[in-house]
């Protein structure tokens, strides 16, 4: 086992990883940018290295800074968390070339799966269901248009180097495809430094369901069940649960089997996630494979009792998984809410600031992962995730009630600080969510309802806003 691990991340996930390290008796090194100097993980870790300024490019994305910090502190392994360098095969290779273990899949696996268009083709060849679409990167708007015609509208354009819900656009008719192509390409170039795009059929009113896998270097490939992540705002997850409610058992098992088969086919090692889209008629298709810990991993941990980060570390140290597939069992229902420092009334604009009050929920079957504390300055430099509140209960109804209770006692305040707490509670209370009949269109529908209600409240005679989740060949690009 490693004696020292460096955590190459920040925020709640850096603390999450450092906690797992300490429980394993591993000395932990945190790295931090200047605004993170008083962060929770810096306080928690056994040692901390200042690696750069606020700009992620010069700190959390700086390979030389992180490698040097690891070498200086004698770290034998680096855990990349999620985001930043977590799915960068070059970083993984550079770690290995410096004798540092990268806690994640082998570089060549990340390389293969990081190209989303190539991964689609690879997994289709392995027998996994994929939506009709590209076999490789598109070369022109004309090709995109021709392919879209073949697979049928609506389609979705995605960045080959994308992920995490960024760099994608839904196109509903041929007239819009050229513009969407050019815009998405420009976006992809700016964000990922790679402007290649691919295209596939888009499914309205779909559910986003993903399967967690864990694989060791001794041939063990297991799944830890699925998570439903359909509550999304612009392809960003807001709430996640496990198991997925109202899903036929055969479908569930078919998705597990597909994930295990896909992981085996590509020689996966470590923790990975197979993201699927599930159609209203219960077909499922692979969307992408993530080669890292997911933000929402706690819901799987709460129902299985398995510490996914611990397994990542022990697997990276060459040990076998601590359990067999037959020993994995899911108990009860777990639900997670992402509490962001955002203003839901201003289209979820970041609302950072100094936390003058921060009292997280507690008590029975509540888990909070957060790096925030009273006096912490939520800065504008990084994402707005403030805390993940997760609950467990024997059934979904109790889990929803428990989550609402937990959110009701969560106290966050500070000048300029706004949170998604109220929005999350409204989502929890929505009849479609309560009855588990929601799809990825839920948040859009809620916005429309809010507009409608506002209109009603004002007693105005304006017509209600159009429903953006309408289907058919409606000609409006939705980002």
């Amino acid at each position: 086992m490693f004696s020292t691990v460096l955590v190459a991340n920040r925020g709640e996930i850096a603390l999450r990883v450092a906690r797992a390290c300490r429980e394993l008796g591993i000395r932990t090194v945190a790295v931090y940018s200047t605004p993170d100097r008083d962060s929770a993980v810096v306080r928690f870790a056994d040692e901390a290295v200042h690696i750069g300024p606020a700009t992620a490019k010069s700190s959390y994305l700086s390979v030389p800074a992180i490698i040097e910090a690891a070498l200086q502190t004698g770290a034998q392994a680096v855990h990349p968390g999620y985001g930043f360098l977590s799915e960068d095969p070059d970083f993984a290779e550079i770690c290995e070339s410096h004798g540092i273990v990268f806690i994640g899949p082998p570089a060549h696996v990340m390389q293969q799966l990081g190209d989303k268009a190539a991964a689609r083709t690879l997994m289709a060849r392995a027998g996994l269901p994929v939506l009709p679409g590209s076999t490789g990167a598109l070369v022109s708007p004309a090709e995109a248009k021709e392919l879209a015609q073949q697979v049928g509208y609506p389609v979705i354009l995605k960045a080959v180097a994308g992920g995490g819900g960024r760099g994608m656009a839904v196109v509903r008719c041929a007239d819009d495809i050229r513009l969407a192509y050019n815009e998405t390409r420009a976006h992809a170039r700016a964000v990922f430094g790679d402007d290649r795009l691919y295209l596939e059929r888009f499914v309205d009113d779909a559910r986003h369901i993903e399967v967690q896998v864990l694989c060791d270097r001794h041939g063990s490939v297991v799944h830890l069940g699925e998570r439903d992540c359909s509550v999304q705002r612009r392809h960003q997850k807001l709430m996640e649960e496990s198991p997925a409610a109202r899903l036929p058992q055969e479908l569930r098992e078919a998705m597990w089997a597909a994930a295990v088969h896909g992981a085996s086919a590509v020689g996966f090692v470590g923790a990975g996630t197979f993201e699927f889209v599930v159609t209203p008629d219960h077909e499922f298709y692979l969307m992408e494979i993530n080669c890292r810990l997911q933000v929402e991993h706690p819901v799987t941990e709460l129902v299985t009792g398995i510490d996914i980060v611990r397994e990542q570390i022990t697997v990276a140290a060459g040990m076998p998984l601590s359990f067999r597939q037959s020993e994995v069992s899911s108990r009860g229902v777990s639900l997670e809410c992402r509490v962001n420092a955002e203003d839901p009334t201003r289209d979820f604009a970041p609302a950072p600031g100094l936390l003058t009050e921060f009292v997280p929920p507690g008590g029975p079957f509540v888990r909070v992962d957060t790096h925030a504390y009273p006096g912490w300055l939520v800065g504008p430099d990084y994402d707005s995730l403030l805390a993940k509140a997760a609950v467990w209960a024997p059934d979904r109804e109790q889990a929803l009630a428990r989550m609402d209770r937990a959110l009701s006692e969560f106290r966050v305040d500070g000048p300029g600080v706004r949170t998604t707490l109220g929005f999350l509670r409204r989502t929890l209370a929505h009849p479609l969510f309560q009855s588990a009949q929601h799809t990825t269109g839920l948040v859009g529908r809620m916005s429309t309802e809010a507009t409608d209600n506002a209109v009603e409240d004002c007693q105005a005679s304006l017509p209600p806003a159009p429903n953006p989740s309408g289907d058919g060949d409606e000609c409006a690009a939705v980002d």
Binding site: D46, E47, A48, I51, P53, P64, I67
Partner: protein, 130 residues
């Protein structure tokens, strides 16, 4: 660097002490970088590390150090090199001044923004003579 449990405050540099004391194993390990010094903060300026790496006073082990205590440096003058992932980059002075302390010892790891060299202001005459 910061220890998870304790933070060691940087003491006001004492040129006499620095000049006499041999560099021990990791004298910089406990220094907190980046925090503004308390007391007389306008007296000294610091050349700081632009990134994590190993700070060298000279271009090679056998070469003369770029600068030593007492030297007057000009803005833009090379004062050391920083090695990160086998890449050497020159450290240059942003502002001029007289070197009063080589805060970071030779061939030792440094963090981002860590103080490397302390400078005190010099008379215009002195600066101009070069």
């Amino acid at each position: 660097m910061q220890d998870g449990q304790t933070t060691v405050e940087v003491e006001w540099p004492d040129p006499v002490h620095t000049a006499l004391a041999p560099a021990d194993d990791s004298p910089t390990a406990d220094r907190e970088s980046g925090a503004p010094e308390s007391g007389q903060p306008d007296l000294l300026t610091y050349i700081r590390a632009p990134m994590v790496g190993t700070f060298y006073h000279a271009s090679t082990p056998d070469a003369q150090p770029y600068v030593s205590v007492g030297d007057v440096v000009q803005p833009g003058q090379p004062v050391g090199v920083l090695e990160a992932m086998k890449m050497m980059s020159a450290i240059t002075a942003d502002t001029g001044g007289r070197v009063v302390e080589m805060v970071a010892p030779n061939a030792h790891p440094v963090e981002f923004d860590q103080q490397l060299i302390a400078l005190e202001p010099v008379d215009v005459d002195t600066v101009d003579h070069s």
